[in-house]
């Protein structure tokens, strides 16, 4: 995996002050994507132990305190990125169980499988779905279009006005199938 951009202090991608990682590589190719530069898997710096240590170090900074890590891109859940992302996320969760992890993906939750699903155990929030220009709404927080969902995977963000839980989603689906 390659990392296109790393921001050790970020306030735009997720709540509070965070570290954010934009990985390279995405095949969703949403029209009007805000970050087309990230589609290629070849751009940016290769993920390494050194980068991992730097991120861990920044997350633990006592001077500028971070609430957590944000993963965006690119698609962190693309199969080619999955191994490295899992490595990073597991290291963060082990070292800082109290910091939260947000992840943006172009897949829908329902499409995820295998290692992608395993990874969810380490995440606190998944923002899912392609960017759909027709649902674009600048007033939304943490997402570009209203078809995307902010899914609280841990309790921490389960009661926010902008989030839904997996239970909410399955309830809704049951209702739809009935």
């Amino acid at each position: 995996m390659r990392i296109l951009q790393y921001h050790p202090v970020d306030v735009i991608n997720g709540p509070g002050t965070r570290c954010s990682v934009f990985v390279s590589g995405c095949e969703h190719r949403c029209p009007d994507c805000f970050n087309k530069a990230s589609w290629s898997f070849k751009k940016g710096e290769a993920y390494s132990e050194q980068i991992k240590q730097r991120i861990l170090c920044d997350l633990g900074d006592q001077r500028i305190r971070k609430r957590g890590l944000s993963l965006s891109g690119g698609d962190p859940l693309h199969p080619r990125n999955l191994a490295a992302v899992t490595d990073l996320v597991e290291a963060v969760k082990t070292q800082y169980p109290d910091k939260d992890i947000w992840c943006w993906t172009g897949y829908r939750l329902e499409q995820l499988e295998g290692a992608q699903l395993t990874l969810l155990d380490c995440l606190d929030v998944l923002v899912d779905g392609r960017f759909e220009a027709e649902f674009k709404d600048a007033r939304l927080c943490w997402r570009g279009s209203s078809n995307q969902r902010i899914i609280a995977l841990s309790q921490r963000y389960a009661n926010e006005p902008y989030s839904c839980t997996i239970a909410d989603i399955s309830k809704r689906q049951t209702r739809q199938t009935q």
Binding site: Q5, H7, V11, I12, N13, G16, T17, S20, F22
Partner: protein
């Protein structure tokens, strides 16, 4: 036919050989070599040379006289004659500058004058009257009142005598903390009316607006109400008691709940009315007054209610489009144990302040402990950033009614350019100019020495200055013994480094440069201390905001030194000790860089961070506020809050060298957009009233200290 002489202003006068002779004699007398026959001879020779001409220009005659004198044995007289002519030229030039400036105002084409102050709409008549008065006052001060050396230093761009359009022509001072408490409690006289102590919060607020309008017309800087929540709380209580009485009279079941609700409504309405009044005021200075409200330290329900009303009124916006109010500037005090942390009783107010700042840019924050540590006691800044020091009267700490007598700022980059890397020379120049600045500042002080209270009743006899004098009393005692401050300002430390050491590394990245700028500020600070001892006056070092100055100094210096990389090439100089607006660092690191300066420059300062829109992320804004708490006394967060009424876009407009434009639809019509930017310590609406060129350049180059948007 008789010859006619055409004078410089175009008027005509008969040729008179006697006048030529007189002029030559005058020059001879100056050289102590008077020879009447020679004077007559030369004059006649000149007249002969012009024989047969019907008209002749005065310049031509003078040139002939000069040539004749140079050819004679009177070469020294020739020199004197030329010098005299040169002096006359200068004098003429000076008097015609006045005419030219007035012309620029009449024809509305002197953009420097018209856009000098972003808060003045130079298209309207009262403002034009003020500008006209300013032109004349400045001219008179420079030609009649100020020492020649000070005027030369000002015109040459070594220092800036601020607000020459008001003082020293008028015996006015700069900015102040109004003793609102004393005025409201004891009543006062204004115009034809005797005002008694108000009996409700609505009356108290409307009287406050009246006082502000009056005070702001008698001073040229900012009008600040310190701790307004605490000052006005008693009137909330009076309103509450009134509503309780009403409830009892009509036998309303839940009298207390009824009274509380009525009181809250009344309080909100009162502050909304005050907000509208201040934004619609037009003082005799031709502008909306620069007003600042400091609040946040009160803890009673009445005080908290006022805090909440101030913030909610600001959040609501002005008018149909809910435009961001530019005045009053709101300054919210944070204090540990009161409102800083979730367990503190007023934490809810801090969260509301964060929300308000994310939507409307204000409030800025005062960090209680830092203000006390750096300036000696807690108080709100006068105007946008001028801080008083600690001062006691009869064993009591006093702030209300005190003021600042004005500012003179040094152009440090110019001294650095002149020194050409020679540190000794730089310090020599600095000391020389500090002496000049002292002389200049003392003219400000001396102008007020024999002024009587009757020149500004609202200030001196009705209580705004805290002490009520009699009309014939001298006002000077109000300014002595450190009661008032008088400030030396400075600009462009960032450019000083590049001018002295070359545009190679940034001061932020270089310990040597950091040490240098500290040494310079410490040197000025030590000089101020000396002046204080010497005069007993409240001299202070002030980090100049330089709204207009940022381009004036740079313009003069680029004329004299050319475009020097990292110094004059940007079209503006950086505000005082501030980090270069182009330097990309996060706000935490910026705070660390700037935090060492306020203690050295405690007469005035503010620190800023540039942020993206944080309306969805108040926690992040809170992180920086909390971080600033232990770093700096006074902090402002600049966030994009522009609005396009055409397409509904809210966020940040593109700042181009031509103006501001909506990134979504390209709209730049000032009637259909709302653009708000920090100009100095105050906000401005540059869409409606353009900034000066230098400020526009500076705004154009501001980088966000926290934008993690992908490239």
């Amino acid at each position: 036919m008789d010859k006619v002489v055409i004078k410089r202003d175009g008027s005509r006068t008969p040729f008179d050989v006697g006048r030529i002779e007189q002029a030559i004699l005058k020059a001879m007398k100056a050289c102590k070599r008077v020879s009447e026959p020679d004077a007559k001879h030369i004059a006649l020779a000149v007249a002969e040379e012009l024989d047969g001409r019907e008209q002749v220009a005065i310049d031509e005659i003078q040139a002939l006289v000069e040539r004749r004198l140079m050819q004679s044995y009177f070469k020294d007289v020739a020199r004197r004659y030329i010098e005299y002519r040169h002096e006359r030229d200068l004098e003429r030039e000076r008097s015609s500058r006045l005419t030219r400036e007035i012309q620029g105002l009449v024809e509305q084409n002197n953009s420097e004058l018209l856009n000098e102050n972003a808060n003045k709409d130079s298209r309207v008549i009262p403002t034009q009257r003020d500008l006209l008065a300013g032109i004349v006052a400045r001219h008179f001060a420079k030609t009649q009142l100020l020492p020649k050396a000070v005027v030369e230093a000002h015109d040459g761009g070594f220092l800036h005598y601020h607000d020459l359009d008001y003082a020293p022509f008028f015996p006015m001072f700069n900015c102040m903390l109004v003793d609102l408490k004393g005025m409201l409690e004891n009543g006062f006289k204004m115009g034809n009316a005797e005002i008694e102590s108000p009996k409700s919060i609505s009356t108290a607020c409307s009287v406050t607006a009246q006082i502000i309008a009056q005070v702001a017309s008698h001073i040229y800087g900012g009008t600040t109400i310190n701790r307004i929540d605490e000052v006005l709380a008693p009137y909330v209580e009076l309103s509450y008691q009134k509503h309780v009485a009403t409830a009892e009279r009509y036998k309303i079941a839940e009298a207390e709940a009824y009274a509380k609700e009525q009181c809250e409504k009344e309080c909100y309405n009162a502050f909304q009315a005050l907000e509208y009044e201040i934004n619609t005021l037009h003082t005799s200075n031709g502008q909306t007054p620069f007003v600042t409200f400091g609040f946040g330290l009160g803890s009673s329900w009445q005080e908290k209610l006022i805090q909440r009303c101030i913030l909610e009124v600001r959040r609501a916006g002005l008018g149909k489009h809910k435009k961001t109010a530019v005045f009053p500037k709101l300054v919210f005090a944070m204090k540990r144990g009161l409102n800083a942390h979730p367990e503190d009783p007023n934490y809810d107010i801090k969260r509301l302040a964060l929300r308000c700042a994310s939507e409307r840019m204000y409030p800025d924050i005062l960090n209680y402990e830092q203000v006390v540590e750096v300036t000696g006691s807690f108080k709100t800044p006068m105007g946008c950033r001028s801080f008083l020091s600690r001062h006691e009267e009869q064993g009591q700490e006093v702030h209300e009614g005190r003021n600042n007598l004005g500012v003179v700022s040094l152009n440090l980059p110019r001294l650095a350019l002149l020194a050409k890397g020679n540190m000794d020379l730089f310090y020599k120049l600095l000391h020389g100019n500090l002496e000049l600045a002292f002389e200049a500042l003392m003219t400000r002080v001396d102008r007020l020495r024999h002024v009587k209270a009757k020149v500004a009743p609202i200030l001196y006899t009705e209580g705004a200055c805290g002490i009520r004098l009699k009309p014939e009393d001298s006002v000077f005692s109000l300014f002595e013994n450190g009661r008032a401050s008088v400030s030396l300002g400075y600009i462009g430390l960032n450019e000083v480094c590049n001018a002295l050491l070359g545009h190679t590394v940034h001061v932020y990245d270089c310990e040597q440069r950091k040490a240098l700028v500290h040494e310079i500020v410490a040197c000025m600070s030590a000089t101020i201390e000396k002046w204080k001892q010497q005069t007993g006056l409240g001299f202070s070092l002030y980090a100049t905001p330089s709204e207009n100055l940022c381009s004036r100094f740079c313009r003069i210096d680029s004329k004299d030194f050319g475009l020097i990389p990292g110094v004059t090439d940007k079209g503006y100089y950086t505000n005082s000790f501030h980090l270069d607006v182009q330097k990309k660092v996060n706000p935490f690191d910026k705070l660390d860089f700037e935090k060492t300066f306020p203690p050295l420059s405690s007469g005035g300062f503010i620190c800023y961070g540039e942020y993206p829109n944080l309306q969805h992320n108040l926690d992040a804004l809170e992180d920086v506020w909390d971080y600033s708490y232990d770093c700096v006394p006074y902090y402002g967060t600049n966030t994009p809050i522009d609005e396009c009424y055409d397409c509904g876009f809210t966020g940040e407009f593109d700042c181009t060298s031509k103006g501001f434009c909506c990134p979504q639809c390209g709209n730049s019509d000032s009637a259909r957009v709302s653009v708000t930017r920090r100009v100095c310590g105050y906000l401005g609406s540059p869409d409606a009233r353009p900034f000066n060129d230098g400020k526009q350049q500076e705004v154009l180059r501001r980088v966000k200290h926290l934008d993690a948007e992908p490239a």
